[in-house]
């Protein structure tokens, strides 16, 4: 069975000079929550935008394969892509305030999605909007139809965005840091909602986040991105149990785990910063920060298998051991 979303060797260039994504491969299966995790600038948002063909001006994408439910996304015209977007693939963003139009009511913005893609009457579309708002846990949905975005709290706005994304029954929801701007209590509510929708509607979710706590709690599978590459892919439990790539291992050691805090001991951290990747860069992008690096890391790096669905981009064999700290 082929994946719902199948991307192989995606490259995204801006202005021909800097490569934001360098050969990323990503498969999202039907009905799964797939987390794309990485730090700022690693190319995770650019990957999402290139799926939607929403790259900023000057951004160019190319790939060996980029298909959605058997359709080749790269060969679609702008019109055909617009027909897919918001319809079979929806996207929600980090800041709901900037993604909603401040000048239109919630009702008119939600109804437009449906009338535009599926036709039908405005009344029917508004009914659907009320139904979906109720479903995503918005109280008094009829009242919200006439309200403007600024009248809603951040959590409510994000719920409206989710309801709007669901108007046309999409098969794939791309969510780019959907809870980063929200308080932790609201974040938990929104993530629970996404999990319920996935279960009940069979929705596939590509969730982009930098938060390993979110990854652990909601993802079925994880792809870890670093400097424009997917450096490790694994089922969630396996990734947290036996991370292979030195970057993944470092990332996991940086997170303070409540209840397991040792206050007098420093947190793990990754030394240095993400390097600038110029044209003609070869080898492992993590080598300047990696304690295992040697001269061979400057050559082409193999993708190794650590399990049937677990691979990573590193010269080291699976289960290599960490050097003991002196």
């Amino acid at each position: 069975m082929s994946a719902l979303l199948d991307i192989e060797d995606l490259e995204v260039m801006f202005g021909g000079r800097s490569a934001a994504v360098r050969g990323a491969s990503l498969q999202v299966e039907k009905g799964e929550t797939h987390c794309l995790v990485g730090e700022s600038g690693c190319g995770k948002s650019v990957t999402a935008l290139s799926i939607m063909n929403l790259l900023a001006r000057g951004g160019r994408r190319s790939a060996k394969r980029m298909s959605f439910a058997g359709t080749d996304l790269l060969s679609l015209s702008d019109r055909e892509m617009a027909r897919l977007r918001g319809n079979r693939i929806s996207m929600i963003f980090q800041e709901p305030m900037t993604s909603l139009n401040p000048a239109f009511t919630i009702g008119s913005q939600m109804a437009e999605v449906l009338t535009r893609h599926k036709g039908g009457s405005r009344t029917a579309a508004l009914e659907r909007a009320v139904e979906l708002m109720g479903r995503v846990g918005i109280t008094a949905p009829e009242m919200r139809l006439g309200q403007f975005p600024h009248q809603l709290s951040g959590g409510l706005r994000q719920r409206v965005m989710i309801a709007m994304a669901l108007m046309c029954d999409p098969e794939l929801l791309v969510a780019d840091e959907p809870t980063t701007a929200l308080d932790v209590t609201v974040q938990a509510q929104i993530l629970r909602l996404l999990a319920t929708l996935k279960r009940e509607l069979g929705l596939a979710i590509l969730l982009i986040t930098h938060d390993l706590g979110i990854v652990a709690r909601v993802a079925d599978r994880v792809s870890v991105m670093y400097a424009g590459e997917v450096v490790e892919r694994a089922p969630t439990a396996e990734l947290f149990r036996s991370p292979q790539h030195p970057y993944t291992r470092g990332l996991l050691s940086c997170v303070p785990v409540p209840g397991r805090v040792q206050r007098d001991r420093p947190l793990g951290s990754i030394p240095g910063v993400v390097p600038a990747i110029g044209p003609g860069f070869a080898g492992c992008a993590f080598r300047s920060r990696c304690s295992h690096a040697d001269a061979s890391c400057e050559r082409e790096i193999p993708r190794r298998q650590a399990g049937s669905a677990h691979d990573y981009l590193c010269r080291l064999a699976p289960q290599f051991s960490e050097p003991q700290p002196a």
Binding site: D183, V184, T185, A188, H210, R217, C254, P258
Partner: protein, 316 residues
């Protein structure tokens, strides 16, 4: 242990225009907050956005005038001191190192500014102190020559820390110092702050919405809700046995990196707190899962909680 900072009955009200013809509204951002922090320790302050934690920081820094209350540092009333004297005692580190550093100045001039503003340091002395503190926070002399835009987020936050420490203050107010940073860099900065506190004997007020971070750095934690401290206790005690239902909900909503546990149902409902519209009785009652009739009528008062904390809840 001596007390570094003592805050007594601090209160801050804003008057906001609700519209052209609507009556003026009163927003109580900080409502009768009292606490003290022993020298050399860290008080973590947690709460959701809009709970007043940043207003509290600005009050203590003297950037806002309180409606009532006093702050004592080393027994001196902070609001009686002039700006220069205050700056020698207490300094801030803010959340966004992209906004808090002047983009048109070199890093070393930014770090030197608190010294030059005092007007009592010689040029040679300033240069020596700036070089020292830059090295201490892990920035090379070459970094000092650069502009903020040439630094990464973590390096900028190091520069902001250097600026806060160059006057050798007693107290540093860290307002979400790592929220804008990536996790790998966040860990570097937290480790640096911990080293500096130990080596220089600093006292921190550490404001954050990230409970995992607060648990890691703070010796004592206060939970703020709609302008009040609703619970305060030693960190281990508070995390092990939270007394207030709001503290419990906050702790539950922390997503630890443990796969397979799913997202918890914290059952707080949709009634978002609004500081312009504080409910009667316990201010948390509309969101509280265990509220009883009394909670809707009578505001709870602080009650002692072991080992040396307090909680404001009728049912705790």
């Amino acid at each position: 242990m001596s007390v570094a900072i003592e805050v007594q009955n601090l209160r801050c009200e804003f008057r906001v225009n609700a519209g052209w013809f609507a009556p003026e509204k009163r927003v109580i951002a900080v409502d009768d907050v009292t606490f003290s922090v022993p020298a050399g320790s860290v008080l973590g302050i947690v709460g959701e956005s809009g709970c007043g934690k940043s207003t509290l920081a600005r009050l203590i820094l003297g950037l806002l005038k309180p409606t009532a209350g006093t702050v004592l540092v080393d027994g001196k009333r902070l609001f009686d001191l002039d700006r220069k004297a205050r700056a020698r005692l207490i300094q801030p580190v803010f959340q966004d190192p992209f906004a808090s550093l002047n983009p048109r100045h070199r890093i070393k001039d930014i770090v030197a500014l608190p010294l030059t503003a005092q007007g009592t340091f010689s040029r040679a002395d300033i240069e020596r102190r700036v070089a020292q503190i830059l090295e201490r926070v892990g920035l090379s002399a070459a970094m000092g020559e650069r502009m903020p835009s040439q630094l990464s987020g973590g390096q900028r936050q190091r520069a902001a820390i250097a600026r806060a420490l160059v006057l050798e203050p007693r107290i540093v107010i860290c307002d979400e110092p790592t929220s804008a940073l990536d996790v790998s860099v966040q860990a570097q900065i937290l480790n640096l702050l911990a080293d500096l506190r130990r080596d220089l004997g600093l006292t921190y007020l550490f404001i954050s919405h990230n409970l995992a971070v607060v648990e890691h750095v703070a010796s004592e934690v206060a939970v703020m809700y709609l302008g009040r401290f609703v619970e305060r206790n030693e960190t281990d005690a508070l995390f092990r046995a939270p007394g207030h239902p709001y503290t419990q909900a906050l702790l539950q909503s922390v997503l630890t990196p443990e796969p397979g546990r799913g997202v918890p149902d914290i059952g707080l409902g949709d009634a978002m707190p609004d500081p312009a519209n504080i409910p009667p009785g316990c201010r948390f009652n509309p969101r509280c899962g265990i509220a009883v009739e009394r909670c809707r009528r009578v505001a709870p008062t602080p009650m002692a909680r072991a080992p040396q904390g307090m909680v404001e809840c009728h049912l705790a």
